[in-house]
């Protein structure tokens, strides 16, 4: 097949696609700088809604709760996900291994409503029988988030681990390292980038989860998405636009930084390899 020049059709398809993806966000960002209280009528540039946002103590508290939960969720998910990935990629065949892998990743396709409801029922049952989790709050949200984030983190880490050259671990063992040392000195440092991306994934998933949090939260633990959702129901305030704009900015900067760091490392690597080849022997 010959490579053809892009036609007007492919150009317009691209433009439409991007418009569909990013126009709503663009509008949201523009209106966050709106002077007017009305979200759909432009009346001049202003930063006042950003000021309002930072004066809203409830919003700030909700953000703090969300960040705290997201941080704890990401950490716990990476630990559990790494353990699950080890079992899936490094353990010998055992009865029920396929079943284990399937069950580990099932929450990926489970509707959130079902996950949330079932976890809530579990907490209620535990409260009645053991007296645990009678007060629902940050801890229960954390546990619920970990249960669904672990599935994502496991997929990320196990795919990295299965493509890791097994002979590296064998070489370490050959040189006298037992299994524990092999894991901490060889496997872990090499898969560290996957751990980092798994951590970030779990962090963002937890940060913007609404459905599961709504099921298992308590009176003192309103997360940011819950706060946003409830305030939007009272009527959309441009304050929410300002909040959304800030979140988009943070996410974009983080993504760009990650890309830039990786590109720089890759470039350095290419240069090193060229150099090594030229020196030869």
């Amino acid at each position: 097949m010959n490579a053809t020049k892009p036609s007007w059709f492919s150009h317009s398809a691209l433009a439409l696609g991007f418009a569909f993806l990013y126009l709503p966000m663009l509008i949201l960002i523009i209106y966050s700088f709106n002077e007017s209280r009305l979200v759909t009528v432009w009346s001049g540039f202003s930063l006042k809604w950003y000021g309002e946002l930072f004066r809203d103590q409830q919003m700030i508290d909700a953000a703090k709760v969300s960040l705290q939960i997201a941080f704890m969720t990401a950490c716990a998910s990476v630990v559990l996900g790494t353990m699950a990935a080890m079992v899936m990629t490094r353990f010998r065949q055992f009865p029920g291994k396929a079943m284990f892998s399937a069950l580990m990743t099932a929450p990926l396709v489970m509707p959130e409503v079902i996950t949330g409801l079932s976890i809530l029922l579990l907490f209620v049952a535990m409260g009645q029988t053991f007296g645990l989790f009678q007060e629902r709050g940050v801890t229960t949200i954390w546990i619920a988030h970990v249960t669904f984030c672990v599935a994502f983190v496991t997929v990320v880490i196990s795919s990295r681990m299965s493509e890791l050259d097994r002979s590296l671990e064998e070489a370490a063992m050959d040189l006298g390292a037992n299994r524990v040392k092999v894991f901490f000195l060889i496997t872990l440092p090499i898969i560290a980038p996957a751990l980092a991306s798994g951590w970030l994934l779990a962090f963002t998933l937890s940060l913007d989860d609404l459905v599961i949090s709504s099921f298992v939260s308590g009176p003192s633990s309103t997360t940011l998405p819950m706060k946003v959702f409830s305030s939007v129901r009272m009527g959309v305030s441009p304050k929410i636009n300002a909040l959304a704009t800030l979140m988009i900015a943070i996410v974009s900067i983080a993504a760009f930084l990650g890309w830039w760091l990786m590109a720089r490392e890759e470039k350095q690597r290419q240069r090193d390899m060229q150099l090594a080849l030229q020196q030869g022997g």
Binding site: D165, S167, L168, E170, A171, A172, M173, D174, L175, G176, A177, N178, K181, L185, I186, P189, I190, R269, D272, M273, L275, A276, L277, Q279, G280, G281
Partner: protein
């Protein structure tokens, strides 16, 4: 001939030192490894001498790598014994065995420098920091990589990576060094240079070494002795020249180098000579020594292409000559290979050394030529 071959091997092989050589420094007894009913290694027994470089040679899937992994401790044999220096090691974990391996991919730790890679085993052994540093320095000097001590593996060329891998596997002074396809990741030119360098280092340290390879040139260049493996079994063990000049079976004869196999039956079995009647030759083959066989036994006469003489005129010798037509020519520079079709339709390969410039122009397509060979040129194979 076999006697000559082995004495030559002994002279330039391991018999240098005056100390008595342990014939069974590494001893493998009835080793079998099964995967789901498939026998990757099938009842292998081997003895490896102290200080020798022993090659396991075979096509991919013949079980040579599995055997090596059993030695390293990465695979547990289904049954069988492995002894190293008189100690059974089957029950020892890979990290407890005094055996180190150089991997085909080198398996250098990408997040560590050259120094840290070489020092890893020493650190695991619990050596003090200054002793680790001294040993690393010693190993770097051994492989001439001192300049590169602070580099990461990806900043090295293939040949340099191999040296680091070798240094790392020798740092702990293992009782047995394993090499898995040592030249597999190098390009052809670098290969022959590194082969000799590697052998030089290994012999200087006097470490016993088992290597796995599918490349017969590599095995013949590097190894003191070679074991030919096929379908999980050892077919023959011998020095490179024994394997080449005195193959034990049709399989080995065909596996190593190229060979003309002439199938026939023993016609006349005397003490000092034998004649073999073959359908593809008009004249019986005259063999100048006795063989352990009987009259009427089906045998194959294995004749290497370079042992056949090619001429325009009929040679004077009474036996072992045949006329044919040159059907194909392959010119390799150092030598030419002629495909000669006999009157019976059988094709023989003949090598002709191009010892003089333009020597290859003497013969061309469709020339009628005479082929002849000596009484001791070939090997009578019964299996």
């Amino acid at each position: 001939m076999a006697a000559t071959a082995s004495s030559v091997a002994a002279a330039n092989g391991v018999a240098k030192s005056d100390a008595p050589i342990r014939e069974d420094y590494v001893r493998i007894d009835d080793l079998t490894k099964e995967y789901d009913g498939f026998r990757a290694v099938d009842d292998v027994s081997l003895s490896i001498r102290k200080g020798e470089i022993f090659a396991l040679l075979g096509a991919s899937g013949c079980g040579k790598s599995t055997l090596l992994r059993c030695l390293a401790g990465f695979e547990k044999p289904t049954y069988g014994k492995i002894e190293l220096d008189g100690v059974s090691i089957v029950e020892q974990a890979a990290y407890d065995r005094p055996i180190n391996m150089m991997f085909q991919s080198y398996a250098l730790f990408p997040h560590m420098t050259v120094e840290q890679n070489i020092g890893f085993g020493l650190k695991m052994a619990g050596l003090a920091r200054d002793r680790v540093a001294a040993r690393v320095e010693e190993m770097l000097t051994l492989v001439q990589m001192n300049r590169f001590a602070k580099r990461k593996p990806h900043q090295l060329s293939g040949g340099q990576q191999q040296r680091v891998a070798l240094a790392r596997s020798l740092a702990l002074s293992p009782k047995l060094l394993l090499l898995d396809e040592p030249m597999g990741a190098l390009d052809k030119k670098l290969r022959s240079q590194m082969q000799l360098e590697l052998v030089g280092i290994i012999e200087r340290l006097g470490v016993t070494c088992v290597m796995v390879t599918h490349d017969q040139e590599e095995a013949m260049t590097m190894a003191t002795r070679i074991a030919i493996m096929d379908a999980g079994k050892i077919r023959q063990v011998g020095t490179p020249d024994e394997i080449y000049e005195q193959p034990a079976s049709r399989f080995v004869a065909q596996f190593i180098g190229s060979v003309n196999l002439l199938e026939g039956t023993i016609e006349d079995d005397e003490k000092d000579h034998v004649t073999i009647r073959s359908d593809v030759l008009e004249q019986p083959i005259h063999v100048g020594h006795g063989v352990t066989g009987f009259e009427g036994q089906a045998v194959a006469y294995a004749l290497r292409p370079e042992k056949i003489k090619i001429e325009k005129d009929e040679p004077a010798q009474p036996h072992n000559k045949v006329r044919g037509l040159i059907e194909d020519i392959a010119y390799f520079g150092t030598h030419s290979v002629y495909h000669v079709r006999l009157q019976t339709g059988k094709k023989l390969l003949v090598h002709f050394m191009n010892a003089k410039r333009w020597a290859s122009e003497r013969f061309t397509w469709n020339d009628t030529v005479w082929l002849s060979w000596g009484d001791n040129a070939g090997v009578v194979l019964t299996s």
